[in-house]
């Protein structure tokens, strides 16, 4: 049957990964061309078998094959077809299959898009990816097989997908997040391959940059989608809970951000090599740690749907091997990672490393806050939980120097920057951001220190980013050209940086305003009741029944007016309370009116006596800016990648020109020449 074929195909994928782990690396070490050449077909094979296996499972979901345990546990014949397809990753086993599929996609992408990179390097990178893949395939087949059969006794209908996951946000959140998580494996593989080969010049940084940026972009979008989903689906109006599972995805993001910047320094200035390698190892290790935390079931949260200690142990072992192995290799090779560049204490390099340290410190804070409760419990000291205020407080401390450096870093020169030359810029930026902060706050009732701080910081980023663009466009020789021409003369990767930083400022504005000026009311309301909140009048008009394909429930209807005279209507909101009978769970679907400057948010609570209902009303100023900022950052990543890819293609072209001369042992020097040529042209 189809599902058995899927299982078999997964075993073949494991075999492929084993071959991939051995042959190309062996070939690279022995300089054996044919063995190196096996890397590409093996990577493609691994991908195809995994993809087939994934399709087989999807088909089982689509056709309601409840003889498969996983399908029976996570689907139901009443589930709409699109949720049947996405239910594949609604539980543990299937989401792991998605994980390995995405891993295979990254691997095959490296195999296909690395024409500009020496064969030996690609062979090593793919071998490392193959090694990591072995671990994951073994894990799937041994401890979390999605194709496990319930035959001969299987249920007539399935237990349904967790209602929380029956939502559009959930359709795209996990694949995006996994793309990010798993994508750091490529940066990791490049770093390890560089360590193995001993080719520790900065070229590996250049090759792994676009991959790192891609992974980081996916992770950014994935986290933002998760936050957005929590906002409208959980009915608490919160967008970040410092939930351990959120933290698990946030840590690789923080280190990934540091890695992205550190790679840039290593590529351009040939320094911080050793630090960059360490970050590459850490980013992937934290991704694995995140997987371990979520999948082992030691964390209790919305996400840990299925948990099993043996699985946790397996991932922990894998984590130990990956981290331990790579750190040993690092320790052996690190002394060779000599940095050649010189720089003064006040220079762009130092500011970038400063921000790297701050990002690392932030990761430490999150790691401590996430792991301390686990350690505390394991030591027998009793259960504790660490509240959101801890994280918030620490992040406020960290963000001040972070933003300061973020703003002046791009304005500064490499090697040496005289502080005096920056003075004017800084004074202007400070004056503008402070006045902007006061102006924005004047439109709200009261001022708070936190809001002022947040707004000054975001204004600071905005102004200095603009200053930086002006500095770049003015200083160059093209003064007489039009502004548009001058702006387009900046490289896409430069615009990538600009968008990344502006996106961060936009997000910071959203976070600041929504945290300081949101208004909330939990109310008992009877049909016809009117309540005023934040300059709007909310009228509860009543509740009607709701019948969905696999749920039933109530819809609370609220009309919003500009004032209590109820003359001018702003919007009509419907907040749902759904009951899913198969899983016997209730779900809240908030009614939200989204806007640029505010969201109106209504959630329906429980039914009280006398026809009254509990209602939760929110006004969330600028909350959408949080996610808009994240998408801007990811867009910046896309821009940078375009640039890099372009360069990659150019390197390949130049290399072809040298191809006549090329023999394996002079290949490396050709690439070096190609780089010089392409840098000269850029």
């Amino acid at each position: 049957m189809f599902a058995e074929l899927g299982h078999f195909s997964l075993i073949l994928a494991l075999l492929m990964s084993m071959l991939l782990a051995i042959y190309p690396l062996w070939g690279a070490q022995k300089n054996h061309q044919q063995m190196m050449a096996t890397a590409k077909p093996l990577a493609i094979g691994m991908f195809l078998f995994t993809a087939f296996s994934y399709v087989a499972l999807t088909y089982a979901f689509y056709t309601d094959d409840f003889s498969i345990a996983y399908v029976a546990h996570h689907s139901n014949s009443l589930l709409p077809w699109y949720y049947k397809i996405t239910a594949v990753w609604g539980g543990h086993e299937g989401s792991f299959l998605l994980w390995v599929l995405i891993f295979a996609i990254w691997t095959v992408a490296v195999a296909l898009l690395s024409d500009g990179i020496p064969k030996a390097m690609v062979a090593r990178v793919l071998s490392i990816l193959g090694m990591v893949a072995i671990g994951f395939y073994l894990f799937m087949l041994w401890a979390s097989n999605p194709f496990e059969s319930l035959l001969p006794f299987y249920p007539v209908d399935g237990r349904d997908l967790n209602p929380l996951l029956q939502d559009f946000g959930m359709i795209i959140h996990p694949p995006m997040l996994y793309m990010g998580y798993v994508g750091f494996s490529v940066a990791f593989a490049f770093a390890i391959a560089a360590l193995i080969s001993g080719q520790l010049d900065s070229t590996w940084a250049r090759w792994s940059r676009p991959w790192t940026i891609a992974a980081w972009g996916f992770l950014t979008v994935g986290i933002a989608l998760g936050s957005w989903w929590a906002y409208y689906e959980l009915g608490w109006g919160g967008w970040w809970f410092w939930d351990p599972v959120e933290n698990a995805s946030f840590m690789p993001w923080l280190i990934g951000t540091a890695l992205m910047h550190s790679l840039a320094v290593t590529e351009k200035r040939k320094i911080f090599k050793s630090w960059t390698v360490l970050l590459a190892i850490s980013a992937f290790s934290l991704s694995l740690l995140g997987t371990f935390l979520v999948r082992s079931g030691i964390l209790v949260s919305v996400h840990s749907f299925a948990s099993d200690p043996t699985r946790g142990l397996f991932i922990l072992a894998l984590l130990g091997i990956v981290i331990g192995g790579s750190l040993i290799l690092y320790a052996v090779r690190a002394p060779q990672l000599k940095s050649v560049g010189r720089y003064e204490w006040f220079s762009r390099e130092v500011m970038l490393i400063g921000n790297n340290l701050l990002l690392t410190a932030a990761t430490m804070v999150v790691l401590l806050g996430t792991l301390l409760p686990l350690v505390h419990k394991e030591l027998g000291l009793g259960s504790i939980s660490i509240g959101a205020p801890f994280f918030n407080e620490m992040f406020v401390y960290l963000i001040v120097p972070f933003v300061l450096l973020l703003a002046i870093g791009p304005l500064s020169r490499w090697k040496r920057q005289s502080p005096k030359a920056l003075q004017k810029h800084l004074i202007v930026a400070f004056a503008i951001s402070v006045s902007a902060a006061f102006l924005i706050q004047a439109s709200y009732d009261q001022m708070t220190y936190m809001a002022t701080l947040g707004l000054v910081l975001s204004g600071w980023i905005f102004v200095s980013t603009i200053q930086e663009i002006m500095q770049r466009t003015d200083a160059s020789h093209n003064k007489e050209r039009s502004l548009l021409k001058r702006l387009t003369s900046l490289t896409p990767s430069h615009w990538g940086m600009v968008f990344g930083h502006i996106g961060f400022a936009v997000m910071l504005i959203g976070i600041t305003l929504v945290s300081n000026y949101e208004e909330e009311k939990d109310l008992r309301m009877r049909p016809g009741d009117v309540v005023e909140l934040g300059g709007y009048a909310f009228q509860f008009t009543g509740v009607r029944d709701l019948v969905g394909p696999n749920y039933s429930g109530h819809v609370g209807i609220v009309d919003v007016y500009t004032d209590t005279s109820l003359s001018e209507k702003v919007t009509h909101l419907e907040a749902e309370k759904r009951f899913y009978p198969v899983q016997r769970t209730s779900m809240t679907e908030a009614g939200i009116d989204s806007g640029i400057s505010r969201d109106l948010f209504v959630a329906l609570g429980e039914q009280l006596n006398n026809g009254a209902w509990a209602l939760r009303l929110y006004i969330k100023p600028f909350v959408n800016w949080i996610w808009a900022g994240a998408f801007l950052m990811a867009f910046g990543g896309v821009l940078s990648m375009c640039d890099k890819r372009y360069r990659m293609a150019k390197v390949a072209k130049v290399k072809q020109r040298f191809a006549k001369l090329a023999t394996p042992d002079v290949e490396a020097s050709n690439v070096a020449t190609a780089q010089k040529v392409s840098q000269g042209q850029a």
């Binding site: 939980s385 660490i386 407080e393 401390y397 939990d522 769970t585 209730s586 959630a603 609570g605």
Partner: protein, 156 residues
């Protein structure tokens, strides 16, 4: 000391100072934000020989005793009793209870202890799973499975 070494020394001591300050800040923030977890019997009888202080912030996990959920007819104020295997602790809360809040169900509340057996909660959590029981509570109730929450208190 030559100037270069002096510079290096300054740099290193600055880093050490910064790290020390950061660690100190982190520990202060941490000590203010740790919520210890208690079960109702631990609140009344003490945990590892130490009684929780009145006024302390804490987390409590227990089963909602059936028949004890009292709602104020005009507001959202609600109070209910929690139990594990011994004494009962009363929790009061003002707000919307989670979707899965039900009598006989395991819940977790975060709040402040205002009397020796009374908690004013800021947050009440019930997990999105029918059979969910806080893991701490499940551990506590291991081996005493015959005491079912339905059999304690009023019963239905």
């Amino acid at each position: 000391m030559n100037p270069r070494r002096q510079k290096r020394l300054m740099g290193i001591s600055a880093i050490v100072l910064l790290v020390a300050a950061a660690v100190w800040m982190m520990l202060t923030a941490l000590s203010e934000n740790i919520d210890h977890f208690y079960t109702p019997s631990e609140i009344v009888e003490g945990k590892n020989g130490a009684m929780p202080q009145v006024g302390q912030r804490l987390r409590i996990g227990g089963m909602v005793v059936p028949g004890t959920v009292n709602r104020d007819p005009d507001t959202l104020a609600v109070s209910f009793d929690l139990v594990d295997v011994g004494p009962i602790v009363t929790v009061s809360y003002n707000g919307i209870l989670p979707d899965l809040f039900r009598e006989g169900q395991g819940i977790v509340a975060t709040g402040r202890l205002t009397e020796f057996d009374f908690i004013v909660a800021e947050e009440v959590l019930a997990k999105h799973d029918e059979e969910y029981m806080p893991p701490e509570l499940a551990e506590k109730m291991k081996g005493i499975k015959h005491v079912k929450p339905q059999n304690i208190g009023a019963g239905q």
